[in-house]
Each structure stands twice: as C-alpha cells, then as structure tokens.
Symmetry: C2
DNA sequence: GGCCGAATTGCAATAGTATAACATCGCAAA
DNA sequence: TTTGCGATGTTATACTATTGCAATTCGGCC
C-alpha cells in the first residue's frame, strides 16, 4: 500500500513534487485556477504527512513573505483546495491534510497517529460499504462522511510508544 | 431498530425520562456525581434529537435561572458527561448529543440529517470491523474513532427535501 | 458536630478556529 | 477603453474552547 508511506521513512520531496504536479494538471483540466497563493498553501499542507492547522499555515505563509496574510485568505485558499479535492479537513483536529488521490472526488477516511501525528488516508471499500449499508438500513441517504481513527501507527508502536 | 426513533414521530418525553433515569443509575453504580448542574446539562442535551452546541446549552441554562453561567462551566459538565459515556461530541458540527446506550463505553457512529438535523447513533459491527480491519492492515492500533455521516433522513426525503 | 482534603463550581481572561462584509486589484472579453 | 468577474486585501467580529485561580460544597473521618 503506497498510501502508508506516511508511516514510514521515505523521500518526502517526491511526495510534494508529485502532489503539486498532479494538482496543476488537474486544475488545468478543470479550468480551475491554481493561483500562486493556492499553490503555496497546497505546498505547505504537503510539507509533511501531519495535518496542518489553518493558523499554522498562516504563520508559515507570513514567514515566507514580508506581508502578513489574513486568516480569511488562508481559509479561502483551503476552501478552493477542498472543492478541488486536493485537501481534506480533519474535523476531529480542525486541521487540513493533502489528498493523495484528488482526481476523483471521494470520501476521506483517515488513520491518525496520536504520537507522530502522521495521518494516512485509507480507501477501504469495506468501510464505505458497511457505512452505506447501515445508512440504507435506516432509510438514510448518505452524502458526506467523516471517518477519523485515532491510534498509534506501526512505527511509533515499534518504538515502544 | 429502536435507535432510529430520532427520525420518526415519537413521544420524546419518554426519551428524556429514560436517559436521565439511566444516567442516575449508571452514575450511582460508578460512584460518579451527577450533580444538579450536570443533570441539567444532560437534560438540555436530550431536549431533542438534534445535537446542541455548547453555547446554545449555555444560553438555555441562563434562560432557566437568574445567574448567567460561564462557558467553562458548561464545558466541564460536558467533559464529565462524555467521560461517563452519556454524551458524544460530534466533531463535524462542534456539537453534543445524548448517547442512548451509555452503559458500555463505545465508539459512536452517527447519521446526521442535514435538513432536520436529527441525529442517530448507529451501532454497526460491520462498520467497526471494517475499520478495525483497515487499521490492522496498516499496522495501526486504533483507539478512538469518529464516524459521522451527513445526509438526508427518510422523513425529510419523504417530504421532498 | 467540626475539621480536612478533594471535587465541583464561579469567575475573569484569553486562546484558537472560522466567517462576514466590503474594498481593491488584475485580467480578459466586449 | 470599459466592463465584468474572480481573486485577494483588510478589518472586524463570531464562534468554540481552555486556563488559572478563588470560592464553595461534599463526603469521610475524628
């Protein structure tokens, strides 16, 4: 499972590069405008596999340039990125993380390590189907869903965490 | 499924009464103190099957008595109720809802209607198992999980929503 | 009953997260 | 050039939650 990279040592430059490249292609295809600001926010979100808070991104943006940016600016960029499926919001953490498969819109399911905060997005059809089945049984029409699992990743457990 | 009551017409007084009664028994067994304030907050949470925000509860508390209560007071009461499993927090809404089966600690999975806001807690072993299986496959040790599904309930769909 | 320690609540301040409303800028089509 | 529109700047504010310390209440114990 390539998506478990986040829990392992790896060359992260490759992750960033690939994410940005895919984002550009995807936005080009959709005629959506990946402006410098939005691109920069996406890059910051991808700086690692830990979810980033909006104000954390804000500080990092400010650190990079002379002029301070307002919260609304970052939130708007995040809104855009979420609409394009390039970023997911983790409700349990009030934080944002890059999506490794933005090309098709989908529901995000996450494993979040409470030690290293590394977060991976899982795509389990079983989870999705089990949820759909439960919803259907209740006569409920599911539209969006959040699945966030907090625990300890293999790496941290190995280190006795 | 009795738990789907929230999506149907029903005598809600019974829900409240039962929830409070169970809470008292459960706290008595555990020697946990269900103080008047905590009991009142629980009652407010159970006023309907819609999740309540902390500040909404705060206003309602204030409306009931002469003196205004501070946010921390409500949050502490909610913390206690969550520890006892009597209330769940819905991360996607920043809101709180009464738990209909507090006796055993468990992970909450929710269906939230985006029209009437009615929310039911589902207990699907399939969902839980699918999530556990995904986590195990990733070498991940799951501890807590949030599953929140936003959609339209049968009642609202029937009404053409 | 009176005292003690712990749990609970009161109270004030502040941190953290997110949005609203309106002005301005820059690009591209008419 | 003008106009329209999307993006960004700017300011203010709303909403959610926590911290720290003082005052009070509770329950157990002498």
């Amino acid at each position: 499972m390539a998506s478990l990279l986040a829990f392992k040592r790896h060359d992260h430059r490759h992750c960033i590069e690939q994410a940005l490249q895919e984002a550009e292609q995807l936005c080009a295809r959709r005629e959506a405008r990946l402006t410098p600001l939005r691109r920069r926010v996406l890059e910051l979100v991808w700086q690692n596999h830990q979810p980033s808070g909006a104000y954390q991104l804000l500080d990092q943006l400010a650190a990079g340039s002379a002029s301070r940016v307002a919260p609304a600016t970052v939130y708007r960029a995040l809104d855009f990125l979420q609409e394009q499926g390039l970023v997911h919001r983790l409700a349990s953490l009030n934080a944002y993380i890059g999506c490794p498969h933005a090309e098709r819109h989908h529901r995000g399911h996450f494993l979040i390590c409470r030690h290293c905060q590394a977060t991976v997005e899982i795509t389990s059809s079983q989870v999705a189907e089990a949820i759909d089945a439960s919803a259907r049984a209740a006569g409920f029409e599911a539209e969006e869903e959040w699945v966030e699992v907090l625990g300890v990743c293999a790496g941290c457990r190995g280190r006795g965490q």
